[in-house]
Structures are given as C-alpha cells and as structure tokens.
Symmetry: C3
Subunit: 206 residues, 3 copies
Amino acid sequence: MDVIYAIDIAGTFAFAISGALVAIRKKFDVFGVIIIAFVTAVGGGMTRDVLINAHPINWIGDINYIWTILIAVAVTFLFRSKIAPLRRTMFLFDTIGISVFTLLGVQKGINFNLHPFVALVMGMSSAVMGGVIRDVLTNEIPLIFHREIYASACLSGGIVYLLLYPLNMNEDVLFVISAGIIILVRTIAVQYKLELPRIKKDVFGK
Amino acid sequence: MDVIYAIDIAGTFAFAISGALVAIRKKFDVFGVIIIAFVTAVGGGMTRDVLINAHPINWIGDINYIWTILIAVAVTFLFRSKIAPLRRTMFLFDTIGISVFTLLGVQKGINFNLHPFVALVMGMSSAVMGGVIRDVLTNEIPLIFHREIYASACLSGGIVYLLLYPLNMNEDVLFVISAGIIILVRTIAVQYKLELPRIKKDVFGK
Amino acid sequence: MDVIYAIDIAGTFAFAISGALVAIRKKFDVFGVIIIAFVTAVGGGMTRDVLINAHPINWIGDINYIWTILIAVAVTFLFRSKIAPLRRTMFLFDTIGISVFTLLGVQKGINFNLHPFVALVMGMSSAVMGGVIRDVLTNEIPLIFHREIYASACLSGGIVYLLLYPLNMNEDVLFVISAGIIILVRTIAVQYKLELPRIKKDVFGK
C-alpha cells in the first residue's frame, strides 16, 4: 500500500506541474497558477469524495497533497525551461498518475459498496475531473471530450479491475495488473498513431 | 408514485438525448457525448442532493439512471437523423421532464424540512442545473440565463405546489396539478410568442 | 458576534449587487440576474460548506441570505444609475465583505479541527469562490487569476489570524485585527498603484 501511496503522490505532483504550466502559459499570476495546479491535481479525487460522501475529502484528510502541490508549483517556476525536455519523464509520471487515480477511485467505490458501474464512474472521475475543472476555469472546452485515448485507457483498466476483483486475488497484484493495462493502452495508443503534436498537448495540456 | 418514477425516467431519457445532440454537434468523441448526456440528465438532481446532503445522490442510489442515459446515447447515435422530425415528441418529453424534475426537487426539499423558499430553489436546481453544467462544460453561456420562459414555468409550478401543500390534499393529485401548471405555462409561452426558431433551440439545445 | 453577522449580511449584499451588475451588463434576463447575484454572494460559503461537510450549508441554514440577495437585486434594478456614483461605498462594502468572508471561513475551518493550511484555503474559498463561479457561469476567465491583490489581501489577513490564534486573545478582537489587515492591504494596494481603471473592475466586476 505504501508503494501505491508513493505513486499517488507522484501522480499528484505530475498533475500539479501540468496544471501550473497551463496557467503560466495563460499568464495567470502566482495565485492563479497555484489554484490551477491545485484543482488539476486534486480536483478528480475531490469530486469523487464529495459525490460519494467520503469526508474528510482527499486533500482535507491528508495535508501532504497541499505540500506536494506547492513544491510542484515552485519546481515549475524554477525549472520551467528545463521541464520541456523532460517531456518523456512527464508523460511517464502523468500516465502512471492517471492509472493510480483511476484504480484508487474504483477501489474506493467498491469499499463504499457502490454498484460496479458507479465504482467505474468514480475511477474515471478521479482521473479526469481534475483536468476538466482546470479547463473550465481557464475557459477551454475540456480536452478530454476530444481525446478518446485518455478516457479509454482509464476505462479499460477500470473494467479489468472490476472483472478480476471477484477472483479474490491479492489486492496489490490486482492493482498492478490493472494499472499496467492503463499504461499499456495509453502508451500503445500514443505510439501507434504517432500523434506527436498531440502528445505534447496530452502531456502538458492534458 | 410508480407513474412519477416512470415520468422521471422518461425525463432523464429526454434530457440525455438533448445533451447528446449538443455534444455531437460540438464534434465531441463518444466518451465526451456520454459525459455531456450524463451531466445534462442527472446534473440537476446531483446538485440538489449534494447541497442538501441527500446521500446516496440520485444516480448513485439508483443504477437505472445510468442505464437510461446509455440507452439514450445509443438511440441518439443510431437514429440521429430520425430524431429531428420528432421535435414535437421531444418537446413534450422535455417539458414533462422539467415539470417532474422541478416537483421532485420541491418535494425532496420539503421532506428534508427545508424552508419553502429553499425547497423552491431545490426544485429549480433539479430542473435547470443539468443544462447549466452542460453549457459550462461546452463553453457556452448557460441558455437558461437568456430564456426566462423555461425558468418561469418551473417557478410557477413550484409555487403552486408550495401554496397548495398545506391543504393536505392527496400528494399525487397535488403533483399532477402542479406539473400541469408547468406544462401549461411553458406550452402557452412558446405558442403565444410563436418563437419557432427559438423552440428548436429550446428543445434540442435547451 | 452580532456585529460580525451584520457585516456578513452587508458583505452578502455588496457581493449580490456586484453579481447583479455583471449579469445586467451581459443582458441576462431577470432570472439570470438573480442566479448570478445568488452565486456571487453565497458561492464562496457554499463551496466551503460542501467541502468540509458542514450541513446545512450557509444559505440553506439561514434564510436571511436569500432575502438579502433578493433585496440587493431589487435595489440594483431600481437604482442602477445611482449605484455608479457610489463606487466608493461599494468598494468599502465589498472590501469589508471579503475580509469577513475570509475570516469566517478560517474560523469555521478551525472549529472543524482542520489543519491550519486547510483552514486558510477555506478562508480563501469563502472570499473568492463566489466570484469564480460567477465568472465561470458568464463564460469569463475568473478575474481573481489575474488580480493578485485581492487574493493576497485575504491571504495575509488569514495568516495573521492563524498566527495570533494560539495566543488565546479575545476572539472578537482577533477577528477585528485580522479584518483590519485585509482591508488595509487591499486599500493600500489599490491606492499605491493608482489603478483607477482597474478599481472600477475590481468593485463592480470583481
């Protein structure tokens, strides 16, 4: 579970950087950049927790999220010019992030005894709502609505998790397998279509 | 009560189709269309339930909403060209839908012992917030802010319900009378002004 | 505490007028104007209460908010041409409003035993989320992201409150000192930069 927590924080970090970069590009001031980084990073889990009544919600129950986001914003400001060449690393972080966010959402849904379909929606929300709120606040049509791959990857991993869940296998193994599916689907989809100009948007503008 | 539930589902169906049509027009992909159909159909009740702390919220407590929406999206994709001539039927569905949504919201507010004004706001929210969220996500100024008729119809029906409520009449009769007011006000308003080019928007772009 | 309640209502009144003026400028109909005035005035506290699970949320637990907003909208319609020259008064109301909103948010956060950082975020949310929701609904990029002064003033007052809190001084005194900081920082910031054309936006378009 500690490994999953570490990846959750790494995903939060990656999402916060992606949000900060969007806000900087939009010429927001420091405060605006922090807000956008914040909602991008925790907006998904926050939406999920409010909808299923899981209080305290993610970033209220664990102060580490706020620290992670503040550090991510500082790093973005300091090393902005150096993050661009790290596109591959960012893509990796980001992909691992959405896989963990999706599965944590599905898991939480199951633990709350929700219908598998609802648990699946919770997994999707956790992964995509941060980006949706970010896009709404920056007055863009949410990218997710135009970029099927992102959502499809989350969906397939979530479905695999739900299908294997009744087999009662070790929960960590189940988590890793499903996360692998998400990472695999997304990476293959991106590779295969060679959508390089889109990859850029996917990584930094997600 | 079963009749009201059936109309609730029919309204959900109509709202989901109206959302799906907007998303298709905006060239969203399949995932985006499902999301927009979803928020249009259940966004109003969801907002109401989160605000009054009624958990599980509408679509989490009853899986039929998700099924209804998925079927509505499938129907929209399959019979898109045939739905246009059904404008009148859609308008009917939609009008019945908002009347039921409004009154279910008011009823729920009363059952939660809220002030009549707050119950009225809950009725309005149930009817209009789905469309508002849809418009925010598709980067439009919510149509409801420019189209008084829609809101006024809901408001008048809600007020009638609240005024007659203390008379202790049969709840179903009260429901039907108030719903009739909403349907009547909206239909007359649309007929009288002969706003045909607007009707189109009202039905499909609501 | 009665004084603070009175200022809370005055702040609600000022925020509702600022929202109504934006909606009127956007040519919304009566219903739209009321909605925008409503979310501008109570959106901040509503967001805070939903996130920390404080039910009934602000305007549901106290009907005076709705009355205040309705009166503010009526006043705006009746005296629209006369409110412009009152810019200074409005600025004062508005500044007092955000200072009270910020500190009520921080206080509530502390009373809910939240981490000081989270309490600070709750204070900020209470003060700025109303304007953010208003801007999202009117399809603008939230002004707050471009206007550091507003947020910085709230932040500094909130931090002072949290720093002095452990000293166990009289709560009302603490409140007044922190509110003074917010009012001072904002007023000085506006004065010093002589951003008059922006002041206009700050007051009415906040």
